[in-house]
């Protein structure tokens, strides 16, 4: 334990400085108003202390202007804070174009992360510095929360649905990953690390940990094993809709509603196929809930994503095989040992 007592966590993401700026602004406001009240209360209490037991102070005339002032001035200040906080929040919600994609499953009491290139980690996540990373998260059981204090980033991971968030690391190092939503007995053991690496080192790490099977390829294998392919045939002759080129496109449902075939829609259509049946097809597909876990579902989603979609998709749109390599700078730089720790 060091002798120094830090007041701020390390700033290691593009958002960290912006969050800290609002925090500092609010500390200034709080110190100002806190001191104002404290000084007024103490000085009034001393200056107007009771000097004789029978003292009856004369009444003070009330001032509507004063009351209006201490209603409107705080209102103005909090509106500034509201707008500032909202602006930050929307920036956090907008994923930048062409991010590197990582799939995360929370499970009591561990984090499982999968890279599109097939690397799978437990309670660890390796990412390159300077590149936006989009996380698609879900939970196998209860609600968890993916919290990296150094990135000022936190997102509840809710079972039964996909949530997304993103960060762009700005500083290499190893940072805490916490579960921030209480999830049962070993909640405080559901911790890990996020390792931010220089791009070259990250490339080397990718190469070192390659399994030879990308996420989409693993999904393709599942697609065969679960016999999805018997109905979802590439020749449009199956009982289920053809899946090529579907990802990211709107589809028309039997109800006439149009939805976008995104990650969440595909997941739902596997575990609860009757919920949103595509127009022109019968609701004959059985549920696969319980037959395939959340990691497998993410592999299937990655496979369907690889079958094509809008050209704007990131590395995920690459074909199933061979394993794609995220476009990163200076691939030739010398590798560093992976998993370096503070």
């Amino acid at each position: 334990m060091g002798a120094d007592l830090p007041l701020f966590p390390v700033q290691a993401s593009s958002m960290a400085g912006r969050v800290d700026a609002l925090y500092l602004f609010l500390i200034l406001i709080s110190v100002f108003f806190g001191l104002l009240i404290a000084v007024l209360v103490v000085s009034f209490a001393v200056r107007f202390r009771r000097r004789s037991p029978d003292e009856r102070p004369r009444p003070v005339h009330e001032s509507a202007a004063l009351e209006l002032a201490w209603t409107l001035v705080p209102l103005g200040i909090v509106m500034v804070v509201f707008l500032w906080g909202a602006d930050l929040f929307f920036a956090m919600a907008r994923v930048p174009p062409s991010p590197m994609e990582v799939y995360v499953v929370g499970k009591r009491w561990m984090w499982k992360t999968q890279h599109l290139t097939g690397q799978r980690e437990i309670n660890e996540l390796h990412v390159p510095v300077g590149m936006p990373v989009k996380l698609t998260l879900t939970s196998e059981d209860v609600i968890h929360s993916f919290f990296v204090p150094a990135f000022r980033m936190k997102k509840d991971v809710v079972p039964g649905r996909y949530v997304t968030t993103w960060f762009q690391a700005t500083r290499s190092g190893t940072y805490h990953l916490f579960c921030a939503e209480y999830c049962g007995t070993k909640h405080s053991g559901m911790i890990g690390t996020v390792t931010v690496m220089e791009p070259a080192a990250f490339q080397a790490w990718l190469a070192g940990g390659a399994t030879g099977t990308s996420l989409a390829a693993a999904g393709e294998k599942l697609f065969q094993d679960l016999a999805c392919v018997t109905c979802h045939r590439a020749d449009s002759e199956g009982r289920g809709p053809r899946l090529e080129g579907v990802f990211g496109h709107p589809v028309t449902l039997a109800s006439g509603e149009r939805v976008t075939a995104d990650e969440g829609y595909i997941r739902e259509s596997i575990v609860n196929p009757a919920a949103k049946v595509v127009a022109g097809y019968q609701p004959v597909m059985p549920t696969y809930q319980g037959l395939v876990n959340e990691e497998g579902l993410m592999q299937l989603v990655a496979y369907i994503q690889s079958l094509g979609g809008p050209a704007t998709a990131g590395p995920g749109a690459a074909p199933a095989s061979p394993a794609p390599t995220p476009a990163l700078a200076s691939p030739a730089a010398s590798p560093r040992p992976k998993g370096q720790r503070r």
Binding site: D156, V158, E181
Partner: protein, 558 residues
């Protein structure tokens, strides 16, 4: 206020009386000595006796909940989870939360002080429904029995928030018993609120118009509205948890076709306004104490009265600020954030008005005033840090960390409990007819204030550094701040034990109190100390506004 009451105590304008502290009331029958025996207490319909029954109940629950806090802080002295097992730790913070929120903070001021004082303050003989009042105490105790059963049968580990699907599907602890305990206690809250609303509407003394009411009554009126309108929602919510857990109805667990986030909406729809159930009555106490000990009418009476109602109403519309990162829509977050900033304004108005009340007053530093000044300071910090949490982008980082833990303890412990202790001291002479030892009480108030800040201020820093709440073990770099917090907690614990000792002592050995030892305004001070069962010898009639502390010739100028 002008009243016609018993001989020897009437007659406005009263010349300034010499300090009456220690001067014995004439020995006579009062609500305490009118009957003896267990039956005379357990079957009483006297609001004052029921208040004391509640006092016994909430004090027991406070020390039960507090003992869990002691164990939590002991465990957190070291980074490793070495004192108790994880499962035990999780049960400790769950039981601490359930007991403190539902069995201490929510009933404390309304059911003890409100019950005792509202009829006295409005010049009534009792609450509108005395038997319903007794029933509400029994219902409270039945809920407490369920909670204590939960405890002895092995406890519950869901956190006081009961988040699904953990509570409905995954926890192997006594969720149903704990849920039913809260469900049952909720009815006592609803009945108390209903009783207050009817009483305040129908039983005010002649001349006591709405805008002559003491602010304590206003805040209890606002609180009662929340109790009556909000509590049914938590009742239904907990019942659905029990149904999903027992019968596997798919309401919240996605595997059964439910939506886990729906639970959070329902839970916080009650549990955020519940924060105002805890803090509004304390604000009422502070308004009474600040005016009495500065001998001034409150600055901006109307603004403070209306602010209570504004808090109660807007408080119902901000529940989503607990869920900014839960997966609710970004735009919903925007609306809830905006409304949360609005609810800060009436609270700020109150703080400014209390401060302005001191201006050109006659300020004395008796114990209730020390608690009131402590309240203003701690509530200001609690309120200002609420602004941090309402700011969307900043909340993402600090939510579910110790920052939130520190924030709500500043409101609930620094605010509500300081208000409660201040109120207990202020009205102790009225309740018991005895004076407490002033020196010990001042020492205790200072210890509570110092211990509180040492306990909870470091937690703001811990939270911003990223320590999540509900962690049994934590990384080593957080140890220094945790040790500070635990050290503060031991001081705070001492500060809470002291009043327990000297208040009990004073019930037997304290000097007898006069009817109005503080020379305070308000009808309750015109009844004897302790009051007779019927409260007043004759029906009081009110001819003045509240807090008419100014000399008679000046009063008309106001």
């Amino acid at each position: 206020m002008t009243t016609q009451i018993g001989p020897g105590e009437s007659g406005p304008p009263r010349p300034p009386v010499p300090p009456t502290i220690g001067e014995p009331s004439p020995p006579r029958v009062n609500y305490l000595n009118v009957a003896y025996g267990v039956k005379s207490w357990l079957l009483t319909t006297d609001h004052k006796r029921i208040a004391l029954l509640y006092l016994a109940g909430v004090t027991l629950m406070f020390f039960l909940g507090g003992s869990f806090a002691v164990l939590i802080r002991l465990e957190l002295v070291t980074p490793a989870g070495d004192l108790v097992q994880s499962e035990t730790y999780n049960k400790l913070f769950t039981m601490h939360g359930i007991i403190m929120v539902f069995f201490f903070l929510i009933p404390s001021i309304p059911a003890v002080l409100g019950n005792f004082l509202i009829p006295l303050m409005i010049g009534a003989r009792d609450l509108a429904f005395p038997r319903l009042n007794l029933a509400s105490w029994y219902i409270y105790m039945l809920g407490a029995v369920f909670t204590i059963y939960t405890l002895v049968s092995g406890g519950v580990d869901t956190g006081w928030t009961f988040y699904t699907p953990y509570s409905t599907t995954y926890s192997n602890t006594h969720v149903i018993a704990a849920g039913l305990g809260i469900f049952i206690t909720g009815f006592s809250s609803i009945l108390t609120g209903l009783n207050f609303i009817v009483t305040i509407h129908r039983m005010r003394a002649p001349g006591l118009t709405w805008f002559r009411l003491p602010l304590f009554v206003w805040t209890h009126y606002a609180t009662s509205l929340i109790m009556v309108l909000g509590t049914p929602v938590i009742a239904i919510t907990l019942l659905t948890v029990v149904l999903e857990r027992a019968l596997h109805l798919g309401i919240y667990d996605p595997r059964l076709g439910g939506d886990p986030v729906l639970f959070q909406h329902l839970f916080w729809f009650y549990s955020h306004p519940a924060v105002y159930i805890m803090i509004l009555p304390a604000m009422g106490v502070i308004s009474e104490v600040v005016t009495c000990f500065s001998r001034k009418r409150i600055f901006g009476y109307t603004a403070v009265a209306i602010a209570s109602l504004a808090i109660a109403v807007i408080g119902f519309l901000v529940w989503g600020h607990h869920m900014f990162i839960s997966g609710q829509s970004t735009y919903a977050g925007l609306v809830f954030s905006f409304l949360s900033f609005l609810v800060a304004i009436p609270s700020a108005i109150k703080v400014f008005n209390w401060t302005a009340t001191l201006y050109k007053g006659s300020v004395s530093y008796d114990t209730p005033m020390l608690y009131a000044i402590g309240f203003i300071g701690l509530f200001t910090i609690g309120g200002l840090t609420g602004i941090f949490l309402a700011a969307l982008g900043l909340d993402v980082h600090v939510t579910d960390t110790y920052f939130v833990v520190a924030h709500f303890h500043y409101i609930m412990v620094g605010g509500a409990i300081m208000g409660y202790l201040g109120g207990i001291h202020f009205w102790w002479p009225k309740i018991t007819g005895r004076l407490y030892p002033e020196m010990w009480a001042r020492v205790a108030a200072v210890i509570v204030f110092a211990g509180f800040n040492l306990t909870f201020f470091p937690q703001f820093i811990l939270g911003y550094l990223g320590m999540p709440r509900r962690y049994h073990a934590y990384p080593e770099e957080f140890q220094v701040l945790n040790v500070m917090s635990s050290a503060g907690a031991s001081i705070l614990g001492l500060g809470y034990l002291l009043p327990m000792v000297y208040l009990v002592w004073s019930m037997r050995y304290g000097p007898r109190a006069s009817a109005n030892p503080w020379q305070a305004k308000g009808l309750e001070w015109q009844a004897a100390s302790p009051p007779i069962t019927e409260n007043f010898e004759r029906q009081p009639v009110v001819t003045e506004e509240a807090y008419a502390y100014a000399p008679e010739e000046e009063a008309r100028v106001v």
